[in-house]
Amino acid sequence: MKRYAPVQGVLALCILMSLFGLPFLRFAPNRLLTGEGLSWWQAPLGPGHWACVLPLGWLLSARWPGNRFARGADMLVAVLWLLLLPWLAGTTARQWVPDADSLARVSLGAGFWLSWGLAALLLSERLREAGWPLWRRGLIWGATILLLVGEGLVGALDDLSLLREYGNHQDAFELAFGQHIRLVVFSVLPAVVLGALLGMAAARHNRLQGPLFAVLNLIQTLPSIALFGLLLAPLAWLGERLPASGIAGIGMAPALLALMLYSLLPITRGTLAGLQQVPAAAVDAARGMGMSPRQILWRVELPLALPVFLAGVRITAVQAVGLAVVAALIGAGGFGTIMFQGLSGSALDLVLLGVIPVVAMAIAVDLLFKLISAGVARHD
């Protein structure tokens, strides 16, 4: 029996080290300057300084790796930590920039990000160990995120630079949110339909596989910027011919088309792989018992191919959430717009305002499809 959980111990130590060794917050006279770091002790957290004893609990509980009580306590402390840290940062920011109109900014420092992110890792590790079903883990994460959003809604985080940026760009943020979702949904959805059909065709006709995957692989290797460039001319030409269609060389049309083309390979491959792993004996038996080709497809092949197919769709959707960022370069909008704006203005918090929702969306999409897969998984 293991006497000590090394991963948990290392994580707890790293959290403590980043908390004390790195600046917890940064104070800058305006948003463009990097500013000076404020360590945990310099930040006027008040009694909040005592929160640093919480990671000691993780160090301690690492002594009993298999203990259910220790695991539960660790999870509770981790959730608490994930909520407490932003709260403390928010109240400190309020004390440093009490005037909402002030140009001065307090942003989250490396110490905050590391000790918060590592705690999230520790929580996910503990949840994984518990061997709970996916929905239960999702529930705990969902509750944590909701409480975090609640902190934001009651105004506890308003004076942090990130939220200041949000306040200043709220309209752009909401617009980007809608655009980003539209980019993902309307590129992945047609790709799922087309990819499934291509995969089914490839499964039926082996000779099709070579040329089909040669083309799809080629598309996948093209950098997204190059693909946008390639689509520019033909779509601009099409837009001129059909002005009513709203198609143009830049904007939504080429972005959707490019994202759809990228999504095609993993979905087609997933469909084909799913159909290929259907036991040949099951198909032979189905035929021998008098199922029609259509019945074999719908009752035997597709249900048995579904798990692999869904895994393909999941990877594709997560990939599309990330790729859609680049679509901002050709004016299709999305969170990329905010991110690139921040990059060009060297405003780190604006970049984060674009990146954080993309990461959150990717995780949410991943979780959603994992839940769907678990729902259709073979009964054990």
Binding site: P279, V283, A285, G288, M289, G290, M291
Partner: protein, 309 residues
Amino acid sequence: MIDISQVSKTFGSAGPAVDDLSLHIATGEFVVLIGASGSGKSTTLRMINRLVEPDRGSIRFAGVDIRQIKPEALRRRMGYAIQSTGLFPHWTVAQNIATVPQLLKWSKARVADRIDELLTLLHLDPDAFRGRYPHQLSGGQQQRVGVARALAADPDVLLMDEPFGALDPVTRATLQAELLRIHALSGKTVVLVTHDIDEALQLGSRIVLMNHGRIVQQGRPIDLLRHPANTFVHDFVGRTEIGIRLLALDRVASRLRPGERAAGEPISAELSLREALSAFVARRVDRLPVVDEQGRPAGALCFDDLLER
């Protein structure tokens, strides 16, 4: 029941898989097609339910040319069981057995009754097995379900392609006995493909030995053992083992000396002579007491009696 006349089939550029083959299978017969791999036995079987279409020749089923019957309709009238069972992994045992009845649009109640009836017939407790998935069953249980599924819609003919090939010897022997019992009970026509000569000798009322797509010899098991047509048949049925296999065809009851007595542990009259030979050698005796099915003394068997008089 099934009339195969002058049928040929060639795949690709290799020689013919089945070459001008004619075979008549009567109602209620248990025909075993046997041969080495590539002898055309499986192709012959698969032509009967149109999984393979012959290049030349015709096959009649119950007097009708099978080309006149829609393949799906034809197949639903013939049970089909294969070596790797081909059970649908995403369906329960009950759903698997219900496959053909559902295709034939039987009522729910009738299907449910049939499932329980078949599970009982194959010695699987309906309440315990109905809701299980194939991966929760042992190999032998899976094949029982496979046979039950083939029997589900009460087909006129049962086509079986090496159904017991992947099972261990003990399970295989049990299922072979089950199949014989079901055949005797239902009087169904069975066409079974195997490459195992012992299985063929035990099961078949007629054995059709094939090589290179042609029939080399056909007849009752005893005909093949006693009068092999050529050295190929002689080799195939086992050369040095022929005597042993002949003994396997007969029961102790047939050579019994009624009323006589012998000392020692009695053997059952239902055993094969092959098993009796084993008992003689193992116990180093030349006389064995025999009891009938109810365990009553029936007589004695002498070592000399193993030879046909």
